[in-house]
Structure formats: structure tokens, C-alpha cells
Amino acid sequence: MSWEVVIGLEIHAQLTTKSKIFSGASTAYGAAPNSQACPIDVGMPGMLPVLNQAVIGKSIMLGLALDAEIGKRSVFDRKNYFYPDLPKGYQTTQFEFPIVGQGKMEIELEDGTKKIIGVTRAHLEEDAGKSVHGLVPGQTGVDLNRAGTPLLEIVSDPDMSSAKEAVAYAKKMHELVQYLGICDGNMQEGSFRVDSNVSVRRPGEPLGTRAELKNINSFRFIEKAIEIEIERQIELIESGGTVVQETRLYDADNDTTRSMRTKEDANDYRYFPCPDLLPVIIADEDIEAIRATMPELPDAKRTRFVSELGLSDYDATVLTSSRAMAEFFERLVALTDAKDIKLCANWMTSGFSAALNREGLSVEQSPVSAEGLAGMIVRILDNSISGKIAKQVFEAMWKGEGTADEIIEAKGLKQITDTGAIEALVDEVLANNPSQIEAYKAGQTKMLGYFVGQIMKASGGQANPGQVNQMLVAKLK
């Protein structure tokens, strides 16, 4: 009998603010322990939290991008539980009136099929601190720098039915929050955390009991962990067992999931409105003001790159894979007066991307700027250099040897376009290869390629290949 898989995701996106959600302490990553935890963050009695206005704008941006209702009256609640990294004994979060209501997102699977995934809600909350083990034997150390860091928890509907769909959704959300500039998306530093709720059922049956997979910091592992968890649940039920509601951790070394803690007390967080915070009222004008500052979203950009710029679906997808990539490309096109968009796209998706990958750099870290690359493409377009020489110029630019023009000048790479000079090279090569000429005339037309190769070699790669070709054909008639 077949099984149906039901997956919902909870994504915690850390918002890119300078200060914390309720205090003026810094959110910078990697500071000395507890150096960025002020009296509000450590839960000193009598402290009054004051909401950071930046988190409101950033949340509304996500809501607009997901075509969601914006909570015009948004309320903060206390979620009560005891853990040393939560010094107040409650987490300030949102329960009944979140800032972002029901929305949706379209995902595309590898085979090109599209699916709409519902987004139940997105609510604001504060992060907890960090427990450090092994500092002092028999005791746990607590670093509260992370306490109070603003998080937007994005909860999906249980609309995904495979690990692949779940990852497609998570990746798309990851791309979106970075496009919007509301989260840096750094999964290693925990800025974007994905928790997966996984359950299985027989088709037509009510939802099965779910297990939650937490703390997985790569898309590849999320996919593997979900697949393994699905297998585990099916095997468990088929052998007569029952799934219990619990949190499970993925163990990448052994490729298994194991129980972390049972959630038997799940409904006992005793939420109630936080008396320290008043309701947040958002006016229509505020929403419209934010709508006016929204960047073009990845889907719209991709569609426009195909329809307006004439790029292939593949190129459009690669070039919109991050906002930095897309903006670099658009600058490049503008700086080269859109004379050869395809050439710009090719350089971005091949030479430029290959160099970034080779050195593990992001677009922002590229040693070659859009201006630099444009300077080189302009020289290809005005026939100063060939595509082949351009690769040499690009490598030199990458190593910081100067601008395209400086490198072309210093290395003497300017293409030979002088007809007389090219003719001399053509004549020389033809004179040295009488038997190949005979073969060509006898019908072996591929000899043409041989001659072009010889001439290009003789010119040190600097002859204009188009001109060489033309002249050769004329002379061999």
C-alpha cells in the first residue's frame, strides 16, 4: 500500500538589524561572550523592552513579497518555558496576532512543474542565548549575546509532499529574504534555520503524528534528513509501531535521525499578551511606503530577463540566483550600452562564475568589478581583442594587474586588424604549406581550420579571426 508524505517547514530568518529587537545592544556576529547582552537581554527585573522599528518594515516587506495579509494590529506574547539560555523564563514572540498573515509562494521543481505552497504566517520573536558545555566541569556556561536577536519565524502550510519540494521551498525562501535584504541568509552562522515537520499517512487518512527535524544547516542535509525520517516512520508503522511527536536531530556522520526530546508538553507554553509591550498599529500609508521601496523580486526579474533581454531560461535562472549576481549583470549590460547582452551573459555564467567558484568567493567579494569587466567587454566589441585573448585579459584582471586597457597595453595583446599585417601572415603560412593547399583544393575543406590555426599561432593569437578567415577563403579560391 502506498504512503503519502506531509511536510511543513518553520524557517527562522534572522533580520538584518544593527541592534536587537527590544534593546539597543549590537547584533554583530562573533563578539566576545556576553559583551553584547545588556540588562534587557539578560532579563534584569524592571527593564522595559522597546520595539526596534526596523523589524516592522522588514517583516512587511516579506509579507508583501508573499502576497500576504499584513497584521495591522500586531501583538506580542510571552511563551513560557524554562531553560538557562532564556533568562526571563519566557520568549517574547507573537501568537494570535502575527505581523504577517496567510500568504503563498510558488516553487518550481527540477522537472519544471510548479506548485503553490501556502505560508500560514510569519511572526516576530527574539532569539535565545547559547549554552556552552565543557567550560567548567559539571556546569553549563551561558552566552547571551544572541538573546534578543530579531527573528522572523516563517511557518508554511503542510503543503509539501517530498523532501525535494521542501528543499525547493526552503531555497526559494532563502533567495527571497536575501533579495529583500531582510536576512543575510548565512546558514553556517545560523541566520537562516530550517525546521521540518514530517509525517506520513495512508492516502485519504487524517494527518499522521509528526516529528520535527531541527538544527540542520545545509539544504543537502535537509533533503537527506527528511528522506531518512520518512523511511523511518514508514518502517516503524509497517512493523506495528507508532510515531511519537518529538524533536529529532539529524546525524550527518551516520545518516540517521535520533530523538532529542519529546514534545509532550507542547501545549503548555501558557502564551499570554506581554504586558511590557503595547499593540503595534500599522497604517495603510506605512505599508504603501514600504511597497514603494521593494526591489524587483527574483521571479519577476527572471521573467523580464527572458522577455526583454532575450536570455535563455537557463541564463536567466543563473543570473538571478542572487540579487548581487543580478545587479552585477544589469550594471554590466548598462555599462556596455546593451550592445551584446548575450556576450555579457556568457561572461557572467562562464568565465566570471567559474573564477568565483574556483576561489569560493561570492559576487560581492569578486576582485573584478562590473566596471572592470565592462571595460574588457567593450574591447571585445570594438575588435581590440578576440574572445580567446579576453580570457587572458580576464585572468590578469582577476589577479589585480590593472584595467583591461592597461593589461592589453602592457602585454601587447591588441588584436591585429591591420589588413596588410594579416595578409603578410596569411601569405607566409600558405607559402609554407603547399601540400595542405592541394588537399584543400582537392575537396578537404576542413583544411581551412588548419590554416586559421597556423595563422593565429603565428600572430600569437592576436590576429582578428574573422578577418583571417575572410582573407584565406579569398586567397584559396
Binding site: 544593527k18 541592534s19 553584547q36 556546569q139 553549563t140 552566552d143
Partner: protein
């Protein structure tokens, strides 16, 4: 609704508040009385009434996203029960 020994022990565990064996019965009775009050209140018609988020009829003020706090961990840890290497120390927690 009335609470018995099991519920009191459960709540005691959740709240991390110790209730001594001999006090359980009394606490159960007190809590049951409180719940009865709620039951009485439930009789009121609250349809079309927005749940009250705050007794004050005011809205939340927002602060600009600016870092205003400086490192005070030494001061804060001076009054902590235990600290080491700039960390607060608590009894060992193992997940």
C-alpha cells in the same frame, strides 16, 4: 473543573515550583477555585469582543535601529551567582 493530585504535580513540574507532598491537596483546592472563577466568566458573551492585549489604550512606540548599549558584562556578572570566562554558569544542562 477541579484539579487533582496528578494535575498539580504536572503544573509543578512545568512551572519549576516545588509543591510539598502535604501541600498538594490544598493547592489543588485553591487552583480549582480559581478555575471555577474562570468558568463563571466564560458565561459572559464575548462574541465581537477583541481580546485585550493591554489595559492601556495606547500603541507601541518604536525606537530607531541604533546601537546604544555598551559592554557591561563585568558589572552584570558581578551580581550573578557564578560566572567564568565571561559566561554565566548554571547547573549542567544536557539535552
Amino acid at each position: 473543573m477541579s484539579l487533582g493530585k496528578t494535575e498539580v504535580e504536572y503544573i509543578s513540574r512545568l512551572t519549576q515550583i516545588e509543591v510539598r507532598e502535604e501541600a498538594v491537596e490544598g493547592v489543588a483546592e485553591k487552583l480549582s477555585n480559581i478555575l471555577e472563577l474562570f468558568a463563571q466568566m466564560e458565561a459572559a458573551d464575548t462574541k465581537d469582543v477583541l481580546p485585550m492585549a493591554h489595559p492601556l489604550d495606547a500603541v507601541q512606540r518604536l525606537r530607531p535601529d541604533v546601537v546604544t548599549e555598551v559592554d557591561q558584562h563585568k558589572k552584570l556578572q558581578a551580581i550573578a551567582p557564578a560566572a567564568a570566562d565571561a559566561h554565566y554558569l548554571v547547573p549542567q544542562v544536557i539535552e
